[in-house]
Structures are given as C-alpha cells and as structure tokens.
Symmetry: C2
Subunit: 343 residues, 2 copies
DNA sequence: ACCAGAAAACAAAACGTTTCGCTTTTCAGC
DNA sequence: GCTGAAAAGCGAAACGTTTTGTTTTCTGGT
C-alpha cells in the first residue's frame, strides 16, 4: 500500500505540501498536476487510521440498535445516514440482538474505535453504565438516543409522542361509539410501550370510561381488556385470540407495534373477523399492509424518516461543538391514518 | 484521555512492558497488580486507531447490504456477527439503500477505514469496480459475497440453491395436479431472481409442461403465466391481481420473495381467494406468516442463519490467511415447508 | 530592478501504539 | 553461593498522517 511518503518521493515535494493539498489546501498549478498524477499512478488512498490518530476525529458515527430485523429502524437509519453523509460523516450500524451484555459491549467497542458520535436505541443499559461509557474517552462523547429514553440519564433524544398517539387512537374509537376498548401493549419496561399504555388509560379516563388496572407483571396474564405482549408477532396473534375468547370480548382494539399488529391481523383473518367492521381497530406501524388490506385499517404511523433526520441534525451540531440547550429532547408527532369503515 | 505513557509513568515501568502485558504477555506478579491498578485509576483504554496503525489490523469486518429493512438480512447478519465475535472480531453494517453510487462509496469507505474483511450483498456494482476496490489496499482484501453472486467476479460466496428451491416448489405443485402454474419473479438482473426463474422453467420443462418464454423487459408487462415484479409488496399485490384477472388464470402460483409473498397473500385475502385451496401456492421467506395463517401455506425458507454463519467461517479463514481452494462457493439448501391443503 | 508582503513549500515533531534487539533480573539445580 | 538458561524488562524506531513555525518563492507596485 502506498503512502503519502511515496507520493512525496515521486513528486519531489514535501510531505507537508502533499498533505495540505490533499486536505483542500492550495498548491501551484504545476504541482497540482504532478501530485494528481502520482496519486493516480500509485493508487494512493489516505490511511484513515493514521489520520484519525493525529486529528482525533474519524468522521464516523456509530449506531446501536436492538435488532436489524425491524423495518422501522431501517427507515430511521436510512434517513439518519443521509443526513450525516451530507456533512461528510458515515454511519456504521451494530445490532445487539436484544442481548443485554452485547449492548454494552458494542457501545464500548464503538467508543474505543473512536467514532465521533453515537446514536443509540437503548433497551437494557442502565443510566450508570451509559454515563461511564459516554465519558470513557475523556471528554463527553456526543450521543443521541432514539425511540427510547432512559430514566435518570440526561441525553439528547428523539422520541415519538407515544402518549398522544394511543390517546388519539383511543379517542377515535370512542368517537365511533366504542366503550369496551382493548389494548395490546408491549413490555412496560420499554419507555415507548409504557407511554403508549399511559395514553390509552388517560383517554379512557378523560372520557369517563372505567379502566381496569394494569396487570402487575410483564406477563400477558390477567383477564379484562388490557394485555401485555412481547412486541412480537406471536404475542399479537395469541393475545388477540385470548381477548376474543372472553365471554365479554372488546368491541375495539388498539395494537401498539408492528409485529403485534401483524399477528393480530392474521388472527382476525383466521377467525373470520373483519377488522374495522366487526371490531374497531387501530394498529401501529404496518402502514403498507393496513392501507392495502380490505377494508383498509386505521393505523398509527411513526415518523421514522423524520426521527432519523432529527437525530442526525442534533448529533451533527453536538459534534460540531455548537452550543445548544442541553439536553435536546425532541418529540415527534405520529400520524393517525384514520380509515372509518364504510359499507 | 490517558495513554499507555501515563500508565508507564504512574507505574515506573516501560512502555514495552505495559504493552506486552496488555496484549497477553507475562509480567511479574507485583507489576501485574501495579499495572492493573494504574489502568483502573487512569481509566486507560487502548486507542484502537494507534494500534491499527501499527498492526495493520482492526479486528473489524464491514458488512454492506442493500437495505436495513429486509428482515432476512437481519437474521443473516445476526448469525454472522455471532460467528465473528467468537473469534474476536466485530462487524459494522452499512446499507446503500439500493443506491448504485452509494454501494461503491460505502465499500471504499470501509476499505479506507481498514476493515480486515468485507461481507457484501451486492446489487449494482460491477465486477470491474469490485476488483479495483478489493485490491485498493495493496494486498487483496478478504471478501465474501452473500445471497448474490456477480458474473465475472471471482470471489468466495455463500448463496442459496435458488434453482432447486423453485424447482422443488413447482414440482410439488405439479404433483398436486396443477398444470397452469404461474411465477411472480424478481428483477432478472439480480442473480437470485434469475436462478429462481430458471428453476421454475426447468421444472415445467422436465415434466413436459409447455412453458411460455420469459418476457423480455424487466417489466411486469406481458400476459400468460410469468410475471416479473420489483421484489416489493406492491408488485406482489398488483401482479397477483393481474394474474387472476386473466380469462384463463393459473391454478397455482409460486411467489419468489418475502415482500411479494406478503403482497400476494394480501391480494388473495382481499379477493376472497383461499390460497392452498382455491389456488395452489408456494411463497418465499415469510415463514411466520405462512405457518400461522389459515389454512397454513407452503413456503420456501431460506437458511438465513446458516448463511450468516458460513459467511463468517469462510471470512475468518481468509483473514487468518488459511489456504483454502479459491474461490469457495457454498450453496445452501433452502427448505420447502410443504403444507398440502386439508379439509 | 527592487522590495514588501503574500503565497507556497518545507523540516521536524507529534499522535498512541507495537515490536525488535538487547540488557538485566530471576531462579532452579548443583 | 555459583552458573547458566529462561524470563522479564527496556530503549528506540516505526506505523502514516497532520500541524507548527520557518524559509523560500512568487507577485506586482514603484
């Protein structure tokens, strides 16, 4: 592999001059040509490790997410990468596969690899661990949390207004005349799941509808209208059936993430229940499916692109050392696609 | 940020000794304690840039895929990362979002960042470009292609036996008595899509069933039994309807990727067609859905985990400089979950 | 033709490691 | 308490850049 020294030798110019030119500095026209020629001939490519060692910057952002199998994150990261790229940064993605230890490990590896910033969709990591990781490098590593916040950890974050999302969904179901409204929620330890649950309960309260208490465990046990699943297909499928098998099944239902929505829709099809007609329904995230299904279903769409873009914006400013109020917590509005049933 | 020099000063030991110990060498017991203490107290963390600069290794593998929104790749990469991690490597993922230029750019950035190896699910990049990128670093960068091969580019690759996958599917449909069998294929420029199409045609040929010619364009135009979609939900949905709207619709259908399978299933539901009963059906990849749907559908499952694992194995061997026959082309068998319709 | 000032080129040091070739220390066995 | 081999420790050079402060070259106005 040829280095800047080789270019120097071949051109007879000094290291400093080559380096300056390569970084956008000015050189005499004839030298410019000579350097270009040498770079081309030698196939010279900058060694980013060496550069980073000197400059303490990698122009690289690390992204850590719980899994690569959720399309929602794919959309977020696509927008994030676009935003960062426009400023000359590249993003690298790591998944921790819902593994508590791996989550920390990936974060540490990224820090050691000297990324200039981190975007994190956290799940298990504690405020304390995160604090330590963020400061491991001496100065504070720029970091933006997406989708989920961590209690006790002060950090820029981009989240969805989950509370109002489910609030609006339930409100709409109430408006359509429903009173026995169910929710299939996610694990309450995840901030998004919790907020969605709160939105559901608050809507019922505000409209004076009796709302039973939340089951204590993270389990889906318990009867009544509230079910807590694991945010996966299976949960949606099983809990939908469970709800409908009750003596007094709900007349409407709100399902709070993509996979569980898919599960519930599948179960409904299977039982011959026409969602939207037989049972009021609002799903989450499965926008394509719900639009195209017949009849089309109401659905809450999360602003994935916007989330990625905002995360990029905030992180770029932090990395540039811009003075911003700290922390930035940006709450994005989700969009309820309301599709009332028509004959 | 404290460096190895700080540790050296604090302990009174030389740089060389500290370095040796930190890399697994032996030191006297009392020095061991002293170093450990200093590392802890100073919060020392190795600077991987500096290390990589010296050693020419980053213990890092770059993964480049067309999008982060396909769960299939998520599964592949999860297994890949596990395999690599066991050998001390970490993987970083980049998506090029189906963008031709970005595909090259991401590859180049990775090479410049001195990853030790690359795993690539290629789409647009040409053999020539890839050849240049692979050799940019002087020696040949270890590289493994997954899911898709590139004509004219010699490289280790892990692919699925797509031909036999659709061959088997069609064979099964024939066995069930079908003669008018359709396929919804993907863009024939993608090697997987092409192979799946060939399997379909060969099965028909082998069983002496008349098979019309493939439409010339990459378009879904054309009548008859063969349709070419874009590998997305919309294509599956639209082409299914198109097929069924014909005067002589097929009696059976093979759909050749996840998104299009979802689209076709949705369209069928919508038309009141019960797949498996009214129309013979084999889908692709949507294992969960097809298992749980009623009646359950036959589906081809790609060995995602195995693909990731094999890719890891091969790449590790190459990076370790092991002498293997070149190139390694590993064809994994897909699995046909056959679920004949029962009353 | 000269000079000042600007622009370009330069030499050398530094970034934080690893490693090579030596020197010193340790310790087992007599 | 020696001896010699093995183990541990050491100093310095090197990896490929950027950067700082200095020197050289160019430019144009008189």
């Amino acid at each position: 592999m040829s280095t800047i020294k080789d270019v120097s030798k071949r051109t007879g110019l000094s290291l400093a001059t080559i380096s300056k030119y390569l970084n956008g500095g000015n050189v005499r026209e004839k030298n410019r040509r000579v350097i270009d020629e040498a770079v081309e001939a030698l196939g010279y490519r900058v060694n980013r490790n060496a550069r980073s060692l000197k400059t303490n910057r990698t122009m690289t952002v690390g992204v850590v997410i719980p899994t690569l199998s959720i399309p929602f994150f794919g959309e977020v990261l696509s927008a994030l990468d676009r935003e960062l790229r426009a400023a000359g940064y590249t993003s690298f993605v790591c998944s921790y596969d819902f593994d508590r230890d791996l989550e920390c490990e990936k974060l540490r590896v990224l820090c050691n690899n000297n990324v200039d910033g981190i975007v994190l969709a956290a799940q298990f990591v504690s405020a304390k661990e995160l604090e330590e990781i963020r400061n491991a490098r001496g100065s504070e590593m720029p970091m933006v949390l997406i989708d989920r916040t961590i209690p006790g950890f002060t950090c820029d974050s981009i989240v969805v207004d989950n509370l109002n999302a489910t609030y609006g969904a339930v409100e709409q179901l109430i408006g359509a005349g429903h009173r026995r409204i169910s929710i299939i929620a996610g694990p309450l330890g995840i901030s998004t799941a919790n907020e969605r649950m709160v939105g559901y309960r608050r809507a019922l309260e505000d409209y004076g509808i009796d709302c039973e208490s939340v089951p204590s465990g993270e389990d889906d046990a318990g009867s009544g209208l509230i079910r807590i699943g694991q945010y996966d297909f299976e949960s949606g499928y099983r809990l939908f059936n469970q709800l409908m098998d009750q003596p007094m099944p709900p007349t409407a239902l709100c399902v709070t993430n993509y996979d569980m929505t898919m599960g519930a829709v599948t179960a409904a099809h299977e039982r011959g229940i026409v969602l939207g007609r037989d049972v009021g329904f609002v799903g989450f995230d499965a926008v394509d499916l719900c639009r195209i299904v017949s009849p089309p279903l109401s659905i809450i769409e999360q602003p994935a692109k916007q989330m990625g873009q905002k995360a990029g914006e905030v992180l770029l400013k932090r990395m540039a050392g811009e003075e911003l109020p700290y922390p930035q917590v940006i709450r994005l509005k989700s969009h309820l696609h309301n599709r009332p049933y028509k004959e």
